[in-house]
Amino acid sequence: MRRPRAPQGRNGSLRPRCAVVSLILLACLTAFSLSSSPARAATPSLTIVSPADGAIAGNGTPVIVHFLASDFVLVQPGRLGQVVAPNEGHLNVFVDGALARLLVQVEPIVLPLASGPHTILLRLVGNDGAPLTPDVSASLRVVATQGPAGNIPTVGIVSPKPDERTGHGVYISFQVSNFSFVEPHGQANAPNEGHVQMILDGDVMEVLAQYEPGFLVSLPDGDHVLTMRLVNNDDTPLSPDVSASITFHVTASTSATLPLVLNGGVLFLEVFILVILFLRRRKAEVRTPLPPRDEL
């Protein structure tokens, strides 16, 4: 008994059609997968929002760095069962080349920095701590200072006054603005911070790093030029130069000469009185001559 067979012609036309459809579907899937693959592997990016490059952090305040990371998931490294995955890892923060922070979430980075210029580098790394390929990092330069971030420093001499007459010891009072005194110990220069030089007749007499009057002793008699100059931590003058000068006169102390003057004055008065008396006596003798002895 033979089974009835399907017609050859119909079955033969269906197979090529299925193959064509399958090929079209395969092509569509391939195209879809190819087109969608770049979206999954988008390149991470890192942006420092603030501060601006070259910013000055004044008054000894820490530098606060705000950043944004896109197409990257920050996670804690070393989690149980964690594997290296693309677009996942953490953020390393370097200050002047040294590792300063390891961040696992987007948050402000507070960095207390010593006075001077610094370079801050932010770098995205994978879960294994290795930098991404290609490297994804951002950096900026900042300058930290104990002084104010802006404005121009000034200095003025309060005492002695211009052309004032003083004794051999003089207190020097001065006033500064937009400038902070710091003790120099070899640190880097920073804007609007340093100390003041007390210069007398062109020679540096003292260096003052505190807002207190200076004291000059054993000054010789005569005219003197006093200059107060603001300088950097390394003793170099500010640019442009910030200084103030006055001329004052040193004279001998009146306490030393007053008794001498008084004694001399009294002596002179006595001589004067004596001379007057002598003169009056001589004049009186001339006007009233003595009667002769025989008349008496």
């Binding site: 804690q76 070393g78 922070r101 010593a114 070899g186 054993s218 004596l274």
Partner: protein, 283 residues
């Protein structure tokens, strides 16, 4: 299915089960956590009064805020206790620790603990010794006397007993006595006059001397550490000068005794003249 086939099937199932059990045990016991301090290095010196920033790395451990872990004991989840010189100082769940510490040398121990604060078993910890200083972390301290304020009558020879000496220091920060511990590049300035300790200076200001006896003197300025010991190598500088008292040199001659005698004489003469005049008139 024949009996032989059934026995064979049971044997294969039993074998697979026997192999599978140890495998299940391996999956149930997670790998042990580890803890490593990445930065700073052991025995590092942190300068300029900066806070101590410790960056650490864990493996096979999930850092969670205390009190937020799931129910039940978890050996691979918890936080980090920060212990400074034996005292619990901070509890952190992020891989960066910032500690504000005074100058000194400290032992910092980090320990992984479970969510309830108990140490892991076995203990997982790491420690370092660090030194903090308000001075610079590196560099050799130096001192130089810059200005000796002797103006009159000429430099190097002092009339009177007041003198001011300025100095400049490098790679060293003057601090008041604190923990009396020797840390690098910080301390105070010891002033010696003729080899004897005169005073210690803890702020950057010129040294002023008064009432120095007449004669030659040598002032030495030496940097000392927090314990008062000289640095190694020694950092000092000296200057010499002569003090000549004002009484030896009289810029203004003292004529008072002569003037006083003359005044008495003249007064007597005035009185005498008046008396003689009246006496002669009466006669």
């Amino acid at each position: 299915m024949s009996g032989r086939r059934l026995v064979l099937l049971l044997a294969v199932v039993g074998l697979l089960f026997g192999i599978g059990l140890p495998a299940a045990d391996v999956r149930a016991a997670p790998p042990p956590p580890t803890l490593t301090i990445v930065s700073p290095a052991d025995h590092a010196v942190i300068g300029d009064g900066s806070p101590l920033v410790i960056v650490f790395a864990v493996q096979n451990f999930n850092l969670t805020e205390p009190g937020t872990a799931g129910p039940g004991p978890a050996t691979n989840e918890g936080h980090v206790n920060v212990i400074v010189d034996g005292n619990l100082t901070a509890v952190v769940s992020k891989p960066t620790v910032v500690l504000a510490l005074d100058s000194g040398t400290y032992q910092v121990l980090l320990r992984l603990v479970s969510d309830n604060g108990t140490p892991l078993t076995p203990d997982v910890s790491a420690s370092i010794n660090v030194t903090l200083t308000r001075g610079p972390a590196t560099g050799t301290p130096r001192i130089a006397i810059t200005y000796v304020e002797i103006l009159y009558p000429f430099p190097g020879d002092l009339w009177g007993d007041d003198i001011t000496i300025s100095f400049r220091i490098t790679n060293f920060t003057l601090v008041p006595p604190g923990r009396r511990e020797s840390v690098p590049n910080e301390g105070r300035l010891r002033v010696l006059v003729d080899g004897l300790v005169f005073k210690d200076i803890t702020t950057y200001e010129p040294a002023h001397f008064s009432d120095l006896p007449d004669g030659d003197h040598t002032v030495t300025m030496r940097l000392v550490d927090g314990a008062g010991e000289p640095l190694n190598p020694d950092a000092s500088d000296s200057t010499s000068f002569r003090v000549e008292g004002e009484q030896k040199v009289a810029p203004i001659p003292d004529l008072s005794p002569y003037l006083f005698t003359a005044q008495i004489g003249l007064g007597a003469a005035i009185v005498g003249v008046l008396y003689v005049h009246d006496w002669r008139r009466k006669r």
